[in-house]
Amino acid sequence: MLSNPQLFFFMFAGVTFGMVLGALPGLTGSMGIALMLPFTYKMDPLTSLVFLLSIYTGGLFGGSITAVLINTPGSPANIATSLDGYAMTVKGESEKALGLSLWSSVVGGIIGCLFLVFATEPLASISLKFGAPEMFFVAVFGLTIVGSLSDDVLKSIFSALFGVLLGTIGMSSVGNIRGTFGSMYLLDGIPLIPALIGFLAIPSILDLANQEFITGEQTSHEGKINIKKVLYQIKELIKRPILTVATSLLGVIVGVMPAAGATIASLLSYNQAKQYSKNSKEFGQGAIEGVIASETANNASQGGALATMLVLGIPGSNSTAMLLGALIIQGWVPGPRLFIDNKEIIYASISSLLLQQIVMLIIGILICALAAKIINVPVRYLVPIILMFSILGAFSSRNAMFDAKLMLLFGVIGWIMKKSHFPTMPIVLGIILGPLADRELLRIMQLYDNFFLVFKRPITLILALLSFIGVVLPLIMSNKRNKIGKKAA
């Protein structure tokens, strides 16, 4: 593979393309794979796989650039990155945030690849044992992150419940139409991209209208990024080896689960990092651990998702579903026989993933250097540009203007909620995890006479306990903080 310059060309091209698409709100790496899929028909199988995997790799990091710089996650997998990454930017530490994000992506990606090489088959077969109860509690466990998203836990839960309700809109798994109020556009449920842009990006954009620059005032680096400073951020990961490896492994495990994917991986990882961190109070205000947890997990999940896709033929995310399509186009049948019939090509493409992480580092630095100039552009020019990209991003998810209008509605609701101290992130979490919880709960009701029988399954019981702790612990902590505050006053 190393002697084939064509492969390197496609690797660089794929990573760059994926990164640019990932950075544009509304456009994701999976969309990049979809766009490039027709061009791979005439490629040989290895080149085709390497090219598409490179787009996938680039897309995962690309989304974090805009999440850090303008609080607009390029893809849902970078939602958690924006929490601390953007807070760092506001503090004038955009280089640090970008560097952390880049290195975390590279390290998470490498750990994911190593997992893919060594542990693909055994773990993928374990995840097959996950039934409806486990998947339901995976969704509930994911929702418990809301307890950590705001100082007011009750307001967070209120927002999350609203999100879960929005997530159940559309056709249910038994075929009934719910909550569409007659709109044909809502039959497939609330589209995720408009909701994501509306609830997360638009409130921030509207708030920018009263400022001169993103950071409030012009930053000292005048749009020139200090590459050394970006590269030095590796030391922050070296200082935190347990966090880096643990969140990467969590990402891999979540990635292995069918239908979980990079978004859930990064959110769960962020939540766990916050709960176990000594600096949990700093999360959301520019915590280094927050960026590391989110970015290592979402990149590492790639290895897990690819493992399930290659060994079992089950796509763990939109991107792996596209890659599955690419394999089928090549005339291959994903599954255990794939490793017997096409072992060399599969392992060559897997090992190319390791090289892609290095390519991502090189291209990532260049793109970060260009993107950092955004910080010093006056917001009076930036706001129309971001608004137009947001509108087009929402529109292009289904080529429907309805989605762009929905995005604006969500944006206004999100902005008013933000002003009333209701966090909007839990709504997005609810929209993502609500349908999963709804579907699996329905399956549980069909499979079990009594709901409580599900707790006889050990993994379910562990997940249920962790979920309970995830809600109760922030409530206790919040009460303690209030009491200390009152005493101090």
């Binding site: 456009l27 969309m31 766009l35 009750l154 307001k155 839960i157 209120f158 419940l161 609203f162 879960v164 309700l165 159940t168 249910s172 038994v174 009934n176 719910r178 909550g179 109020f181 509207l206 209208a209 009263n210 917001v379 009076r380 020019y381 706001v383 129309p384 540009i385 608004l387 137009m388 990209f389 509108i391 087009l392 529109f395 292009s396 080529n399 203007m401 762009a404 209008k405 604006l408 944006g411 206004v412 609701i413 902005w415 008013i416 909620m417 002003k419 009333s420 101290h421 209701f422 609500g434 919880a437 709804d438 709960l441 329905l442 009701m445 069909q446």
Partner: protein
């Protein structure tokens, strides 16, 4: 006034949740398995939050910052309105013209006074965006009167 501002969205969300429950209550009970407990919990939290907010608002009522600052929100209201106008005209006159008008309006709202910038920027930006999305990514943006 500050209290109304605080509770308007939670109230609307609660009304929405109840009407959603009402809509599904006539359907198959299995479809309500998750929705019913979620709505009940949401209404309970609404009551708790409202009581809490009333108490907090009473305490901070004398605080000047709690008052509504309409001047501060003027730009935001105009920005949202220009988005609404964009949606009203885009499918009739097409993306390029409506995008030029949208950019021109938003630049003006945000205080750009330079005549060259306010004219050239919207045209160049709209054309670039159009070609990236329409030709590059194959997104079928509304053509309208200009069928390029």
């Amino acid at each position: 006034m500050a209290y109304i501002q605080k509770c308007i969205i939670p109230t609307l969300i609660t009304i929405y949740a109840l009407s959603y429950l009402l809509e599904v209550s006539g359907q198959n009970p299995t479809d309500q398995t998750l929705i019913r407990p979620v709505v009940v919990l949401l209404v309970a939290l609404y009551v708790i939050n409202t009581v809490k907010d009333i108490k907090e608002t009473r305490k901070s009522i004398k605080d000047e910052k709690a008052k509504l600052e309409f001047a501060k929100y003027k730009k935001i209201v105009f920005l949202v309105s220009s988005c609404v106008v964009f949606f009203l005209i885009v499918e009739k006159i097409g993306f390029i013209i409506s995008s030029i008008l949208f950019c021109f309006t938003t630049l003006y709202i945000l205080g750009v006074n330079n005549k060259k910038t306010i004219i050239i920027f919207p045209i160049v930006f709209s054309l670039i965006v159009y070609f990236i999305f329409s030709r590059g990514f194959g997104v079928p943006v509304p053509q309208g009167v200009l069928n390029i």
